[in-house]
Symmetry: none
Subunit: 223 residues, 2 copies
Amino acid sequence: MKILVVDDDPDILEILSYNLKAEGYKIFTAENGIEAVKIAKKRQPHLVILDVMMPEMDGIEACEKIRETPGLESTIITFLTARGEDYSQVAGFDAGADDYITKPVKPKVLMSKVKALLRRFKTDAKQNNILSIGDITINQDEYKVINEGNEMTLPRKEFELLSLLTSEPNKVFKRDDILNTVWGSEVVVGGRTIDVHIRKLREKLGDDKFKTVKGVGYKFVYE
Amino acid sequence: MKILVVDDDPDILEILSYNLKAEGYKIFTAENGIEAVKIAKKRQPHLVILDVMMPEMDGIEACEKIRETPGLESTIITFLTARGEDYSQVAGFDAGADDYITKPVKPKVLMSKVKALLRRFKTDAKQNNILSIGDITINQDEYKVINEGNEMTLPRKEFELLSLLTSEPNKVFKRDDILNTVWGSEVVVGGRTIDVHIRKLREKLGDDKFKTVKGVGYKFVYE
DNA sequence: TATATTCTTAACTTTAAGCTAATATTCAAA
DNA sequence: TTTGAATATTAGCTTAAAGTTAAGAATATA
Protein backbone atom coordinates (compact mmCIF):
# COMPACT_ATOMS: atom_id res chain seq x y z
CA MET A 1 0.00 0.00 0.00
CA LYS A 2 1.41 3.35 -1.06
CA ILE A 3 0.86 6.55 0.88
CA LEU A 4 1.75 10.06 -0.18
CA VAL A 5 2.36 12.44 2.72
CA VAL A 6 2.33 16.15 1.98
CA ASP A 7 3.35 18.87 4.42
CA ASP A 8 5.56 21.91 4.19
CA ASP A 9 7.06 21.21 7.58
CA PRO A 10 9.93 18.72 7.20
CA ASP A 11 9.62 17.66 10.82
CA ILE A 12 6.03 16.60 10.45
CA LEU A 13 6.89 14.85 7.22
CA GLU A 14 9.60 13.00 9.07
CA ILE A 15 7.43 11.95 11.99
CA LEU A 16 4.55 10.75 9.85
CA SER A 17 6.80 8.91 7.43
CA TYR A 18 8.63 7.19 10.21
CA ASN A 19 5.48 5.92 11.84
CA LEU A 20 3.85 4.83 8.61
CA LYS A 21 6.95 3.10 7.33
CA ALA A 22 7.11 1.17 10.58
CA GLU A 23 3.72 -0.25 9.69
CA GLY A 24 4.98 -1.48 6.37
CA TYR A 25 3.57 1.17 4.06
CA LYS A 26 5.47 2.51 1.11
CA ILE A 27 5.83 6.26 1.66
CA PHE A 28 6.30 9.12 -0.77
CA THR A 29 6.57 12.71 0.41
CA ALA A 30 5.99 16.17 -1.01
CA GLU A 31 6.44 19.62 0.47
CA ASN A 32 3.80 21.55 -1.45
CA GLY A 33 0.74 21.14 -3.56
CA ILE A 34 2.40 21.26 -6.96
CA GLU A 35 4.87 18.60 -6.02
CA ALA A 36 2.07 16.56 -4.47
CA VAL A 37 0.06 16.49 -7.68
CA LYS A 38 3.11 15.52 -9.69
CA ILE A 39 4.07 12.68 -7.43
CA ALA A 40 0.50 11.45 -7.08
CA LYS A 41 0.28 11.23 -10.86
CA LYS A 42 3.49 9.32 -11.13
CA ARG A 43 3.13 7.04 -8.13
CA GLN A 44 -0.58 6.38 -7.96
CA PRO A 45 -0.75 6.19 -4.18
CA HIS A 46 -3.66 4.53 -2.46
CA LEU A 47 -3.89 7.22 0.17
CA VAL A 48 -2.87 10.88 0.27
CA ILE A 49 -2.40 12.71 3.55
CA LEU A 50 -2.53 16.36 2.67
CA ASP A 51 -1.70 19.40 4.75
CA VAL A 52 -4.10 22.26 4.07
CA MET A 53 -1.88 25.28 4.66
CA MET A 54 1.07 25.17 2.29
CA PRO A 55 3.05 27.54 0.08
CA GLU A 56 2.82 27.34 -3.74
CA MET A 57 -0.45 25.45 -3.88
CA ASP A 58 -2.61 24.74 -0.86
CA GLY A 59 -4.01 21.36 0.03
CA ILE A 60 -7.50 22.10 -1.13
CA GLU A 61 -6.45 23.00 -4.63
CA ALA A 62 -4.10 20.03 -4.74
CA CYS A 63 -6.96 17.80 -3.69
CA GLU A 64 -9.11 19.04 -6.53
CA LYS A 65 -6.30 18.58 -9.02
CA ILE A 66 -5.65 15.05 -7.86
CA ARG A 67 -9.30 14.18 -8.09
CA GLU A 68 -9.35 15.32 -11.71
CA THR A 69 -6.50 13.03 -12.72
CA PRO A 70 -7.54 9.85 -14.49
CA GLY A 71 -7.03 6.89 -12.25
CA LEU A 72 -6.97 8.95 -9.10
CA GLU A 73 -10.68 9.68 -8.89
CA SER A 74 -11.08 7.16 -6.14
CA THR A 75 -7.79 7.66 -4.37
CA ILE A 76 -8.45 8.27 -0.72
CA ILE A 77 -7.53 11.76 0.35
CA THR A 78 -7.44 12.94 3.90
CA PHE A 79 -6.62 16.43 5.07
CA LEU A 80 -4.27 17.30 7.85
CA THR A 81 -4.75 20.60 9.58
CA ALA A 82 -4.12 22.46 12.78
CA ARG A 83 -6.95 22.35 15.23
CA GLY A 84 -9.27 25.29 14.93
CA GLU A 85 -8.89 26.13 11.24
CA ASP A 86 -12.49 25.37 10.99
CA TYR A 87 -13.49 26.94 7.73
CA SER A 88 -11.38 24.45 5.88
CA GLN A 89 -13.35 21.49 7.09
CA VAL A 90 -16.19 22.43 4.82
CA ALA A 91 -13.96 23.42 1.93
CA GLY A 92 -12.10 20.15 2.28
CA PHE A 93 -15.07 17.92 1.77
CA ASP A 94 -16.16 20.18 -1.02
CA ALA A 95 -12.87 19.51 -2.80
CA GLY A 96 -13.49 15.80 -2.55
CA ALA A 97 -11.63 14.74 0.57
CA ASP A 98 -12.64 11.60 2.41
CA ASP A 99 -11.53 12.39 5.91
CA TYR A 100 -9.95 14.89 8.16
CA ILE A 101 -7.14 14.68 10.67
CA THR A 102 -6.33 17.47 13.12
CA LYS A 103 -2.78 18.19 14.20
CA PRO A 104 -1.22 17.28 16.47
CA VAL A 105 -2.04 13.61 15.92
CA LYS A 106 -1.07 10.77 18.17
CA PRO A 107 0.59 8.03 16.15
CA LYS A 108 -1.93 5.50 17.35
CA VAL A 109 -4.84 7.60 16.20
CA LEU A 110 -3.18 8.21 12.85
CA MET A 111 -2.58 4.51 12.35
CA SER A 112 -6.09 3.47 13.08
CA LYS A 113 -7.43 6.13 10.74
CA VAL A 114 -5.08 5.10 7.97
CA LYS A 115 -5.95 1.47 8.41
CA ALA A 116 -9.64 2.15 8.36
CA LEU A 117 -9.38 4.25 5.21
CA LEU A 118 -7.26 1.73 3.37
CA ARG A 119 -9.56 -1.09 4.31
CA ARG A 120 -12.32 0.72 2.49
CA PHE A 121 -10.09 1.14 -0.54
CA LYS A 122 -9.29 -2.54 -0.70
CA THR A 123 -12.89 -3.55 -1.08
CA ASP A 124 -13.40 -0.86 -3.70
CA ALA A 125 -10.48 -2.02 -5.80
CA LYS A 126 -11.52 -5.63 -5.65
CA GLN A 127 -14.97 -4.82 -6.89
CA ASN A 128 -13.56 -3.16 -9.95
CA ASN A 129 -10.88 -5.70 -10.81
CA ILE A 130 -8.15 -3.15 -10.56
CA LEU A 131 -4.52 -4.07 -10.19
CA SER A 132 -1.90 -1.53 -9.24
CA ILE A 133 1.83 -2.10 -9.52
CA GLY A 134 4.29 0.72 -9.22
CA ASP A 135 3.26 3.49 -11.55
CA ILE A 136 0.85 1.31 -13.48
CA THR A 137 -2.80 0.65 -12.85
CA ILE A 138 -4.54 -2.04 -14.84
CA ASN A 139 -8.30 -2.19 -15.09
CA GLN A 140 -9.24 -5.66 -16.26
CA ASP A 141 -12.90 -4.85 -16.76
CA GLU A 142 -12.32 -1.85 -18.93
CA TYR A 143 -9.22 -3.06 -20.78
CA LYS A 144 -7.64 0.17 -19.66
CA VAL A 145 -4.20 1.02 -18.36
CA ILE A 146 -3.11 4.12 -16.51
CA ASN A 147 0.59 4.87 -16.64
CA GLU A 148 1.88 7.79 -14.60
CA GLY A 149 -1.48 9.46 -14.94
CA ASN A 150 -1.94 8.83 -18.65
CA GLU A 151 -4.89 6.71 -19.47
CA MET A 152 -4.82 4.44 -22.51
CA THR A 153 -6.57 1.42 -23.94
CA LEU A 154 -4.26 -1.26 -25.19
CA PRO A 155 -4.98 -3.69 -28.03
CA ARG A 156 -5.87 -7.20 -26.91
CA LYS A 157 -2.57 -8.98 -27.30
CA GLU A 158 -0.63 -6.18 -25.67
CA PHE A 159 -3.09 -6.06 -22.81
CA GLU A 160 -2.91 -9.80 -22.24
CA LEU A 161 0.86 -9.79 -22.39
CA LEU A 162 1.01 -6.97 -19.88
CA SER A 163 -1.48 -8.74 -17.64
CA LEU A 164 0.65 -11.85 -17.66
CA LEU A 165 3.91 -10.10 -16.91
CA THR A 166 2.43 -7.95 -14.15
CA SER A 167 0.68 -10.92 -12.57
CA GLU A 168 4.02 -11.74 -10.97
CA PRO A 169 6.27 -8.70 -10.99
CA ASN A 170 9.99 -9.41 -11.37
CA LYS A 171 9.39 -13.03 -12.30
CA VAL A 172 10.99 -13.94 -15.60
CA PHE A 173 8.46 -15.49 -17.95
CA LYS A 174 9.97 -17.84 -20.50
CA ARG A 175 9.19 -17.19 -24.12
CA ASP A 176 7.49 -20.57 -24.36
CA ASP A 177 5.31 -19.85 -21.37
CA ILE A 178 4.31 -16.50 -22.80
CA LEU A 179 3.37 -18.09 -26.09
CA ASN A 180 1.33 -20.71 -24.30
CA THR A 181 -0.65 -18.31 -22.17
CA VAL A 182 -1.15 -15.40 -24.50
CA TRP A 183 -1.35 -17.20 -27.82
CA GLY A 184 -2.40 -20.70 -26.80
CA SER A 185 -0.60 -23.94 -27.42
CA GLU A 186 -2.01 -24.61 -30.89
CA VAL A 187 -1.26 -21.28 -32.51
CA VAL A 188 2.16 -21.08 -34.10
CA VAL A 189 3.71 -17.69 -34.60
CA GLY A 190 7.12 -16.57 -35.73
CA GLY A 191 10.03 -16.10 -33.38
CA ARG A 192 9.99 -12.32 -33.42
CA THR A 193 6.33 -11.84 -32.58
CA ILE A 194 6.77 -11.54 -28.83
CA ASP A 195 9.58 -9.03 -29.27
CA VAL A 196 7.38 -6.80 -31.34
CA HIS A 197 4.68 -6.75 -28.70
CA ILE A 198 7.20 -6.13 -25.95
CA ARG A 199 8.48 -3.26 -28.00
CA LYS A 200 5.03 -1.73 -28.19
CA LEU A 201 4.59 -2.04 -24.45
CA ARG A 202 7.97 -0.42 -23.89
CA GLU A 203 7.00 2.37 -26.23
CA LYS A 204 3.77 3.01 -24.38
CA LEU A 205 4.72 2.36 -20.78
CA GLY A 206 8.43 3.03 -20.62
CA ASP A 207 11.53 1.16 -21.73
CA ASP A 208 12.80 0.36 -18.29
CA LYS A 209 9.66 -1.41 -17.10
CA PHE A 210 10.36 -4.52 -19.14
CA LYS A 211 13.65 -6.31 -18.82
CA THR A 212 14.99 -8.83 -21.28
CA VAL A 213 16.75 -11.87 -19.88
CA LYS A 214 18.64 -13.17 -22.83
CA GLY A 215 18.09 -16.78 -23.65
CA VAL A 216 15.15 -17.00 -21.24
CA GLY A 217 12.42 -14.40 -21.53
CA TYR A 218 11.06 -11.17 -20.13
CA LYS A 219 10.05 -9.73 -16.81
CA PHE A 220 8.10 -6.76 -15.58
CA VAL A 221 10.38 -4.74 -13.35
CA TYR A 222 8.96 -3.41 -10.12
CA GLU A 223 11.21 -1.25 -7.95
CA MET B 1 -27.86 13.38 -7.78
CA LYS B 2 -27.82 16.27 -10.23
CA ILE B 3 -29.17 19.71 -9.40
CA LEU B 4 -29.67 22.62 -11.76
CA VAL B 5 -29.51 26.02 -10.07
CA VAL B 6 -30.91 29.01 -11.96
CA ASP B 7 -30.55 32.63 -10.92
CA ASP B 8 -29.53 35.80 -12.69
CA ASP B 9 -27.44 36.90 -9.71
CA PRO B 10 -24.00 35.30 -9.93
CA ASP B 11 -23.47 35.70 -6.20
CA ILE B 12 -26.51 33.69 -5.31
CA LEU B 13 -25.52 31.10 -7.88
CA GLU B 14 -22.13 30.91 -6.23
CA ILE B 15 -23.44 30.53 -2.69
CA LEU B 16 -26.00 27.90 -3.55
CA SER B 17 -23.57 25.90 -5.69
CA TYR B 18 -20.95 25.97 -3.02
CA ASN B 19 -23.25 24.66 -0.35
CA LEU B 20 -24.81 22.00 -2.53
CA LYS B 21 -21.49 20.77 -3.87
CA ALA B 22 -20.29 20.37 -0.32
CA GLU B 23 -23.10 17.90 0.17
CA GLY B 24 -21.92 15.87 -2.76
CA TYR B 25 -24.42 16.92 -5.37
CA LYS B 26 -23.49 17.44 -8.99
CA ILE B 27 -24.34 21.04 -9.83
CA PHE B 28 -25.19 22.74 -13.10
CA THR B 29 -25.99 26.44 -13.30
CA ALA B 30 -27.87 28.79 -15.61
CA GLU B 31 -28.45 32.54 -15.53
CA ASN B 32 -31.79 32.80 -17.24
CA GLY B 33 -34.80 30.80 -18.27
CA ILE B 34 -33.75 30.01 -21.82
CA GLU B 35 -30.42 28.67 -20.71
CA ALA B 36 -32.13 26.75 -17.92
CA VAL B 37 -34.42 24.90 -20.30
CA LYS B 38 -31.52 24.04 -22.58
CA ILE B 39 -29.35 22.69 -19.83
CA ALA B 40 -32.20 20.81 -18.20
CA LYS B 41 -32.84 19.04 -21.49
CA LYS B 42 -29.23 18.09 -21.91
CA ARG B 43 -28.38 17.18 -18.32
CA GLN B 44 -31.58 15.71 -17.01
CA PRO B 45 -31.20 16.99 -13.45
CA HIS B 46 -33.14 15.46 -10.63
CA LEU B 47 -33.93 18.81 -9.07
CA VAL B 48 -34.20 22.33 -10.47
CA ILE B 49 -33.93 25.37 -8.20
CA LEU B 50 -35.41 28.22 -10.18
CA ASP B 51 -35.40 31.93 -9.52
CA VAL B 52 -38.67 33.57 -10.48
CA MET B 53 -37.55 37.03 -11.53
CA MET B 54 -35.10 36.77 -14.40
CA PRO B 55 -34.39 38.53 -17.70
CA GLU B 56 -34.99 36.77 -21.03
CA MET B 57 -37.41 34.20 -19.70
CA ASP B 58 -38.78 34.21 -16.18
CA GLY B 59 -38.85 31.22 -13.88
CA ILE B 60 -42.49 30.50 -14.31
CA GLU B 61 -42.28 30.19 -18.05
CA ALA B 62 -39.10 28.13 -17.74
CA CYS B 63 -40.86 25.84 -15.32
CA GLU B 64 -43.65 25.25 -17.77
CA LYS B 65 -41.21 24.59 -20.60
CA ILE B 66 -39.26 22.12 -18.53
CA ARG B 67 -42.41 20.33 -17.54
CA GLU B 68 -43.32 19.92 -21.19
CA THR B 69 -40.01 18.28 -22.05
CA PRO B 70 -40.15 14.51 -22.36
CA GLY B 71 -38.36 12.89 -19.49
CA LEU B 72 -38.58 15.94 -17.30
CA GLU B 73 -42.26 15.70 -16.43
CA SER B 74 -41.42 14.43 -13.00
CA THR B 75 -38.28 16.43 -12.36
CA ILE B 76 -38.63 18.21 -9.09
CA ILE B 77 -38.81 21.96 -9.50
CA THR B 78 -38.64 24.42 -6.67
CA PHE B 79 -38.92 28.17 -6.97
CA LEU B 80 -36.65 30.65 -5.33
CA THR B 81 -37.97 34.11 -4.75
CA ALA B 82 -37.58 37.20 -2.61
CA ARG B 83 -39.86 37.32 0.38
CA GLY B 84 -43.07 39.20 -0.24
CA GLU B 85 -43.44 38.67 -3.99
CA ASP B 86 -46.58 36.95 -3.07
CA TYR B 87 -48.46 36.80 -6.35
CA SER B 88 -45.88 34.43 -7.72
CA GLN B 89 -46.55 31.79 -5.13
CA VAL B 90 -49.83 30.96 -6.75
CA ALA B 91 -48.48 31.26 -10.28
CA GLY B 92 -45.62 29.01 -9.35
CA PHE B 93 -47.68 26.07 -8.27
CA ASP B 94 -49.88 26.62 -11.24
CA ALA B 95 -46.85 26.20 -13.50
CA GLY B 96 -46.08 22.86 -11.93
CA ALA B 97 -43.57 23.63 -9.21
CA ASP B 98 -43.21 21.31 -6.26
CA ASP B 99 -41.98 23.67 -3.62
CA TYR B 100 -41.09 27.18 -2.80
CA ILE B 101 -38.06 28.72 -1.16
CA THR B 102 -37.90 32.35 -0.07
CA LYS B 103 -34.69 34.34 -0.24
CA PRO B 104 -32.61 34.82 1.74
CA VAL B 105 -32.18 31.16 2.67
CA LYS B 106 -30.00 29.82 5.44
CA PRO B 107 -27.81 27.04 4.09
CA LYS B 108 -29.16 24.61 6.67
CA VAL B 109 -32.72 25.26 5.65
CA LEU B 110 -31.84 24.92 2.00
CA MET B 111 -30.12 21.62 2.63
CA SER B 112 -32.93 20.06 4.53
CA LYS B 113 -35.39 21.13 1.86
CA VAL B 114 -33.24 19.75 -0.92
CA LYS B 115 -32.71 16.51 0.91
CA ALA B 116 -36.40 16.09 1.57
CA LEU B 117 -37.29 16.77 -2.05
CA LEU B 118 -34.69 14.40 -3.43
CA ARG B 119 -35.71 11.68 -1.03
CA ARG B 120 -39.12 11.80 -2.59
CA PHE B 121 -37.57 11.58 -6.03
CA LYS B 122 -35.52 8.55 -5.13
CA THR B 123 -38.51 6.51 -4.16
CA ASP B 124 -40.27 7.65 -7.32
CA ALA B 125 -37.40 6.60 -9.53
CA LYS B 126 -37.10 3.25 -7.85
CA GLN B 127 -40.77 2.56 -8.29
CA ASN B 128 -40.52 3.28 -11.97
CA ASN B 129 -37.24 1.46 -12.56
CA ILE B 130 -35.52 4.47 -13.97
CA LEU B 131 -31.79 4.51 -14.53
CA SER B 132 -29.86 7.65 -15.39
CA ILE B 133 -26.34 7.69 -16.79
CA GLY B 134 -24.86 10.85 -18.22
CA ASP B 135 -27.23 12.23 -20.82
CA ILE B 136 -29.24 9.04 -21.02
CA THR B 137 -32.25 8.05 -18.96
CA ILE B 138 -33.60 4.53 -19.27
CA ASN B 139 -37.07 3.57 -18.21
CA GLN B 140 -37.11 -0.19 -17.77
CA ASP B 141 -40.84 -0.46 -17.42
CA GLU B 142 -41.77 1.38 -20.55
CA TYR B 143 -38.86 0.36 -22.80
CA LYS B 144 -38.28 4.05 -23.22
CA VAL B 145 -35.05 5.97 -23.48
CA ILE B 146 -34.43 9.68 -23.21
CA ASN B 147 -31.26 10.93 -24.84
CA GLU B 148 -30.38 14.60 -24.38
CA GLY B 149 -34.04 15.42 -24.08
CA ASN B 150 -35.26 13.31 -26.99
CA GLU B 151 -37.59 10.57 -26.00
CA MET B 152 -37.72 7.37 -27.98
CA THR B 153 -38.92 3.82 -27.60
CA LEU B 154 -36.37 1.25 -28.63
CA PRO B 155 -37.15 -2.17 -30.06
CA ARG B 156 -36.70 -5.02 -27.62
CA LYS B 157 -33.28 -6.30 -28.63
CA GLU B 158 -31.78 -2.85 -28.84
CA PHE B 159 -33.23 -1.96 -25.48
CA GLU B 160 -31.89 -5.09 -23.82
CA LEU B 161 -28.48 -4.57 -25.32
CA LEU B 162 -28.43 -0.99 -24.09
CA SER B 163 -29.60 -2.08 -20.65
CA LEU B 164 -26.78 -4.58 -20.42
CA LEU B 165 -24.08 -2.18 -21.52
CA THR B 166 -25.26 0.62 -19.26
CA SER B 167 -25.59 -1.68 -16.27
CA GLU B 168 -21.84 -1.27 -15.83
CA PRO B 169 -20.64 1.83 -17.67
CA ASN B 170 -17.13 1.58 -19.13
CA LYS B 171 -16.94 -2.13 -18.57
CA VAL B 172 -16.15 -4.06 -21.72
CA PHE B 173 -18.72 -6.77 -22.34
CA LYS B 174 -17.39 -9.68 -24.34
CA ARG B 175 -19.34 -10.69 -27.41
CA ASP B 176 -20.01 -14.08 -25.88
CA ASP B 177 -21.39 -12.55 -22.72
CA ILE B 178 -23.63 -10.26 -24.72
CA LEU B 179 -24.98 -13.18 -26.71
CA ASN B 180 -25.61 -15.12 -23.53
CA THR B 181 -27.48 -12.38 -21.75
CA VAL B 182 -29.40 -10.77 -24.55
CA TRP B 183 -30.05 -13.78 -26.77
CA GLY B 184 -29.70 -16.66 -24.35
CA SER B 185 -27.30 -19.54 -24.48
CA GLU B 186 -29.37 -21.79 -26.73
CA VAL B 187 -30.10 -19.35 -29.51
CA VAL B 188 -27.52 -19.26 -32.25
CA VAL B 189 -27.26 -16.15 -34.34
CA GLY B 190 -24.83 -15.05 -36.99
CA GLY B 191 -21.63 -13.26 -36.21
CA ARG B 192 -22.76 -9.88 -37.45
CA THR B 193 -25.99 -9.65 -35.49
CA ILE B 194 -24.53 -7.83 -32.51
CA ASP B 195 -22.80 -5.33 -34.77
CA VAL B 196 -26.02 -4.44 -36.49
CA HIS B 197 -27.72 -3.72 -33.19
CA ILE B 198 -24.78 -1.71 -31.95
CA ARG B 199 -24.97 0.25 -35.14
CA LYS B 200 -28.61 1.06 -34.52
CA LEU B 201 -27.84 2.21 -30.99
CA ARG B 202 -25.02 4.38 -32.25
CA GLU B 203 -27.34 5.86 -34.82
CA LYS B 204 -29.95 6.70 -32.24
CA LEU B 205 -27.89 7.66 -29.21
CA GLY B 206 -24.61 8.88 -30.62
CA ASP B 207 -21.57 7.23 -32.13
CA ASP B 208 -19.20 8.05 -29.33
CA LYS B 209 -21.26 6.47 -26.58
CA PHE B 210 -20.33 2.94 -27.63
CA LYS B 211 -16.74 1.91 -27.95
CA THR B 212 -15.48 -1.18 -29.72
CA VAL B 213 -12.63 -3.10 -28.19
CA LYS B 214 -11.48 -5.22 -31.07
CA GLY B 215 -11.23 -8.89 -30.33
CA VAL B 216 -13.10 -8.46 -27.07
CA GLY B 217 -16.41 -6.65 -27.21
CA TYR B 218 -18.17 -3.35 -26.61
CA LYS B 219 -18.55 -0.87 -23.82
CA PHE B 220 -20.82 2.02 -23.00
CA VAL B 221 -18.64 5.07 -22.50
CA TYR B 222 -19.46 7.32 -19.59
CA GLU B 223 -17.34 10.46 -18.98
C1' DT C 1 -55.76 -11.04 -43.53
C1' DA C 2 -53.09 -7.15 -44.47
C1' DT C 3 -49.58 -4.19 -42.82
C1' DA C 4 -45.97 -2.56 -40.20
C1' DT C 5 -42.19 -3.30 -37.39
C1' DT C 6 -38.37 -5.79 -35.75
C1' DC C 7 -34.79 -9.12 -36.30
C1' DT C 8 -31.47 -11.77 -38.76
C1' DT C 9 -28.64 -12.83 -42.54
C1' DA C 10 -25.59 -12.44 -46.24
C1' DA C 11 -22.60 -10.08 -49.17
C1' DC C 12 -19.48 -6.63 -49.28
C1' DT C 13 -16.34 -2.96 -47.39
C1' DT C 14 -13.35 -1.11 -44.08
C1' DT C 15 -10.23 -1.21 -40.32
C1' DA C 16 -6.49 -1.98 -37.43
C1' DA C 17 -4.43 -5.66 -34.76
C1' DG C 18 -1.09 -8.70 -35.32
C1' DC C 19 2.47 -10.95 -37.93
C1' DT C 20 6.44 -11.46 -40.92
C1' DA C 21 10.59 -10.65 -42.88
C1' DA C 22 14.57 -8.11 -43.52
C1' DT C 23 17.99 -5.58 -41.23
C1' DA C 24 20.32 -3.73 -37.20
C1' DT C 25 21.92 -4.14 -32.71
C1' DT C 26 23.20 -6.22 -28.37
C1' DC C 27 25.56 -9.24 -25.31
C1' DA C 28 28.06 -12.93 -23.45
C1' DA C 29 31.25 -16.57 -24.32
C1' DA C 30 35.54 -17.81 -26.23
C1' DT D 1 38.26 -8.21 -29.14
C1' DT D 2 35.91 -10.99 -31.80
C1' DT D 3 31.93 -13.45 -33.07
C1' DG D 4 27.52 -15.48 -33.50
C1' DA D 5 23.29 -16.35 -31.49
C1' DA D 6 19.64 -13.87 -29.38
C1' DT D 7 17.01 -9.88 -29.37
C1' DA D 8 15.53 -5.04 -31.22
C1' DT D 9 13.55 -2.37 -34.66
C1' DT D 10 10.97 -1.12 -38.84
C1' DA D 11 7.77 -0.96 -42.16
C1' DG D 12 4.75 -3.19 -44.90
C1' DC D 13 1.55 -6.84 -45.45
C1' DT D 14 -2.12 -10.09 -44.12
C1' DT D 15 -6.03 -11.25 -42.19
C1' DA D 16 -9.41 -11.69 -38.66
C1' DA D 17 -12.68 -8.73 -36.81
C1' DA D 18 -15.91 -5.15 -37.07
C1' DG D 19 -18.79 -1.84 -39.99
C1' DT D 20 -22.35 -1.27 -43.42
C1' DT D 21 -26.30 -2.13 -46.25
C1' DA D 22 -30.18 -3.99 -47.98
C1' DA D 23 -33.14 -7.65 -48.38
C1' DG D 24 -36.20 -11.01 -46.71
C1' DA D 25 -37.72 -13.82 -42.48
C1' DA D 26 -40.04 -13.52 -38.45
C1' DT D 27 -43.11 -11.08 -35.38
C1' DA D 28 -46.21 -8.14 -33.89
C1' DT D 29 -50.21 -4.92 -34.89
C1' DA D 30 -54.20 -3.22 -37.05
